[in-house]
C-alpha cells in the first residue's frame, strides 16, 4: 500500500472577534500528524469544535496550516459540511460545468461525464432548475454525484450522508466502497458511529485539536463514547414563575451509572414561594441528541394533583429496560393544575448513564426481538 497523504505536525489557529477591539485566539488544530494510504478509509471523529473540519480543509488544500507539513499526491476532492461551492443563482446543469472547471476539466471532459453524473444523482428532470430551488437533499445528491465522477485520488466527505434519503445513502456507501477498492483514499467524518464502525479501516479521535487516539475503529469509538459520558453536552436551562422552586435533585446512585434492569430513583425537593395550592409534577428524559424518550407527569399518568407544602419532596422511579447504552438527561418541572404555566421547569437538570453493552445499536432502544431464520 502506498502513502498518498502525509500530514506532519500541523497547527492552525485563528482570531475570533468577540467585540469591536477584543478578539480571542482559537487553536483549531494543535499539532496533528497522520498518514493516509491508497485503498484506505480513514474516519475522523470527535466533538463539535475538536478540529475535524479544519483538519480536512487543510488536507484539501483549502486552508494552509500556520506550521507543519502536508503532502498530498493526486487530486483531492473535498465535500465539506454539505458544500461543494455551487452557485445558487445558476442552474444545476451550469453548476456541474462550473464545478468541472474548478476541478480543472475542460468543457469537453465535463460533457463526457455529464450524463453519468445526472443519472447517478437521479435528478434528470431538475437539471434546468436553479440550485437555490433545490432542497438540501437534492443539493447533496448532485454534489456527491459530481464529486464522485471527477475521479478523485482522495475523497473527503464531511457529514454529508446524514442528509440524503436511505436509498441514496446506501448507493453512496456502495460507490465509496467501489472507488476505494480501485485505489481512492477516503477521509470520512460522521457523527453516526454505526457508519464509522462498519466502513472505516482506521479511526482518529480528535479532542481540542489534538489526536487523542488512533487505530482500530471499534476501540477508538469506544473511547469516544466513554468520553461523551464524562462530559455533559446538553445545556441546562430554566424557566417558570418561581412560585414553586426546585431546590435539589438527587439520584439513588452517586456515580449515575445504571444497568438496564436497575431502578433509577430520583427525588426532587421543592419549596413554596407563594400561595400556590396545587399543581402537577412531571419529568422527561432525553438522549444525548436531545430526543425526548418520554415525559410522564402526575396528571396524565396517575391523575393526581400535588398539594404543595412549604417544603416537600417528590420521588419517582423507573426501569430503563429497553434503552440503548448512553447518556440520558433528566428534565424536571412543576406546572399549575392546568398544565400550562410552569412554576419551575429545568431542562436537562440531571443525567444518568446506561452501561451494559459495549457497542451502541442503531436507534434509541433495543426491542426484544424473536428471530426465525428459515
Amino acid at each position: 500500500m502506498s502513502r498518498i497523504v502525509t500530514v506532519r505536525d500541523i497547527y492552525l489557529s485563528y482570531n475570533v472577534h468577540t467585540g469591536l477591539f477584543s478578539r480571542q485566539l482559537v487553536k483549531a488544530v494543535n499539532g496533528i500528524s497522520f498518514d493516509l494510504k491508497r485503498n484506505e478509509m480513514l474516519s475522523v471523529i470527535g466533538h463539535n469544535g475538536s478540529g475535524k473540519t479544519t483538519t480536512l480543509s487543510i488536507v484539501a488544500g483549502i486552508m494552509k496550516p500556520d506550521l507543519g507539513e502536508v503532502m498530498v499526491k493526486g487530486r483531492v476532492v473535498p465535500f465539506l459540511g454539505l458544500g461543494i461551492g455551487f452557485n445558487p443563482e445558476l442552474t444545476a446543469r451550469e453548476n456541474v460545468f462550473l464545478y468541472g472547471a474548478i476541478m480543472g476539466f475542460s468543457r469537453k471532459h465535463t460533457h463526457e461525464i455529464y450524463d453519468a453524473v445526472v443519472e447517478f444523482s437521479e435528478l434528470k428532470d431538475y437539471m434546468n432548475l436553479k440550485i437555490k430551488e433545490f432542497s438540501t437533499g437534492m443539493y447533496v445528491r448532485l454534489g456527491f454525484s459530481v464529486a464522485i465522477y471527477t475521479n478523485p485520488d482522495i475523497l473527503i466527505i464531511d457529514e454529508v450522508l446524514a442528509v440524503g434519503d436511505v436509498h441514496f445513502q446506501r448507493k453512496c456507501l456502495e460507490t465509496i466502497n467501489k472507488i476505494k477498492s480501485k485505489g481512492t483514499a477516503i477521509m470520512f467524518v460522521s457523527h453516526d458511529m454505526g457508519l464509522v464502525s462498519r466502513f472505516s479501516d482506521r479511526v482518529i479521535l480528535l479532542n481540542k485539536g489534538r489526536i487523542m487516539k488512533e487505530g482500530d475503529p471499534d476501540e477508538v469509538i469506544q473511547t469516544y463514547m466513554d468520553m461523551q459520558e464524562n462530559s455533559p453536552m446538553l445545556q441546562k436551562s430554566r424557566r417558570g414563575s418561581g412560585e414553586i422552586e426546585i431546590t435539589k435533585i438527587e439520584l439513588n446512585k452517586e456515580d449515575r451509572g445504571y444497568q438496564n434492569d436497575e431502578e433509577v430513583t430520583v427525588s426532587v425537593h421543592y419549596k413554596k414561594n407563594s400561595n400556590a395550592k396545587e399543581g402537577i409534577f412531571g419529568f422527561a428524559f432525553t438522549d444525548e441528541n436531545g430526543v425526548v424518550i418520554c415525559g410522564p407527569n402526575t396528571k396524565d399518568y396517575a391523575n393526581t394533583l400535588i398539594e404543595f407544602k412549604d417544603e416537600g419532596e417528590v420521588e419517582f422511579s423507573f426501569k430503563p429496560i429497553a434503552l440503548n447504552p448512553g447518556k440520558y438527561f433528566l428534565t424536571a418541572a412543576f406546572y399549575d393544575s392546568t398544565n400550562r404555566f410552569p412554576y419551575d421547569h429545568i431542562d436537562h437538570a440531571e443525567y444518568f448513564v446506561l452501561k451494559g453493552l459495549k457497542k451502541k445499536h442503531l436507534g434509541i432502544m433495543r426491542l426484544p426481538v424473536k428471530w426465525m431464520i428459515k
Binding site: 485563528y14 482570531n15 480543509s57 484539501a60 488544500g61 483549502i62 486552508m63 494552509k64 483531492v76 473535498p78 465535500f79 465539506l80 459540511g81 458544500g83 461543494i84 461551492g85 455551487f86 452557485n87 443563482e89 445558476l90 451550469e94 460545468f97 462550473l98 464545478y99 472547471a101 474548478i102 480543472g104 476539466f105 475542460s106 468543457r107
Partner: protein, 254 residues
C-alpha cells in the same frame, strides 16, 4: 501569465456565470447591455441639449465617453468589494485560485463596457463626428484602465472581510471621486492652481485620456499616458502583493 493560461477555462466559466446571473432573470436579457447606454444617451441628450449647455459640440457624446468608463469603474469595484465574502462557500469548500474571483468580475464588466463603447462608436458615426484611426488606441487604453480597476477591486475585496465599514465608506468616497472627474464638465474649467491636486485622482487622469482619444480624436499627451501607466501598474501590483500576504488571513475570517 502562466496563471491565466492554466486557469483559462475556470476563468471563462466564472465570467459566464457572472454575466448569466446578472441578466438571467430579466426579460430583455443581454439586450440590457445595449439598452443601458442608449437610455443614458437619450436622457443625456434631453437634459443637456435642451436644458443645460456647456459651449461644446456634441456635448452628450462627451459625457457618454466619460460616464461609460466611470460606470465600468464603479460597477466593478462595488461588486468586487464583497466578492470574497459572497463566494465564501466556494472559497471554503473547494480549492480554487481565489484571485480569479475579482478578475472574473473585472472581465465580465469589461465585456459589458466593451459592448457599450461599440454603441458609442455607432452613435459617434450617427451624430456625424469626425473619425480618426487613432481612436482605436482607446481599446488598449481600456485594458490599462481595467488593470487599475482590478488593483483597486482586489484591495477593497481584501479589506471587506475584516472591516465591513469599507462598503459605506467606499460609497461616499467614490461619489467624491465622481465629482472630481471631468465627466460632466470640461477639464478646462478646473482652476489652474488646483490642477496638480486634481490629477492625483487616478480616475480623472483616465477620463482625460478617454476624452482625448474618443471625443477629440487625438493621441493623448505623454503626461497623461505616463501617469495612466503609473497608476495602473502601481495599483495592480500593490493589490496582488497585498493579496499574497493576506490571503490566508482573509480565508480564516470570511
Amino acid at each position: 501569465m502562466d496563471f491565466f493560461t492554466r486557469n483559462a477555462n475556470l476563468l471563462l466559466e466564472l465570467i459566464k456565470s457572472d454575466l448569466k446571473s446578472k441578466y438571467k432573470n430579466t426579460i430583455l436579457g443581454f439586450l440590457w447591455i445595449l439598452f443601458e447606454p442608449l437610455f443614458i444617451m437619450v436622457i443625456l441628450y434631453l437634459v443637456f441639449n435642451k436644458f443645460i449647455r456647456f459651449q461644446m459640440d456634441h456635448y452628450p457624446m462627451f459625457i457618454l465617453a466619460g460616464v461609460t468608463i466611470w460606470r465600468f469603474f464603479i460597477n466593478t469595484t462595488s461588486q468586487s468589494i464583497f466578492i470574497f465574502y459572497r463566494n465564501r462557500e466556494m472559497i471554503l469548500k473547494v480549492r480554487i485560485p481565489r484571485l480569479l474571483l475579482p478578475f472574473s468580475v473585472v472581465l465580465s464588466n469589461l465585456v459589458i463596457t466593451f459592448c457599450e463603447y461599440i454603441i458609442y462608436f455607432i452613435l459617434f458615426f450617427i451624430t456625424g463626428m469626425k473619425f480618426s484611426w487613432t481612436m482605436l488606441l482607446f481599446f488598449p487604453y481600456l485594458l490599462l484602465f481595467a488593470l487599475f480597476t482590478a488593483g483597486v477591486s482586489i484591495i477593497l475585496a481584501l479589506i471587506y472581510p475584516f472591516f465591513r465599514d469599507i462598503k459605506p465608506g467606499w460609497e461616499i468616497f467614490s461619489q467624491a471621486l465622481f465629482f472630481l472627474c471631468p465627466i460632466f464638465y470640461p477639464f478646462e474649467i478646473v482652476p489652474y492652481r488646483f490642477i496638480h491636486l486634481y490629477l492625483l485622482n487616478p480616475v480623472a487622469v483616465f477620463v482625460l485620456g478617454v476624452h482625448d482619444m474618443l471625443y477629440y480624436g487625438v493621441i493623448t499627451d505623454t503626461t497623461i499616458l505616463v501617469n495612466s501607466v503609473f497608476f495602473a501598474l502601481t495599483f495592480f501590483i500593490v493589490g496582488i502583493f497585498l493579496f499574497m500576504i493576506n490571503e490566508e488571513k482573509m480565508v480564516k475570517s470570511i
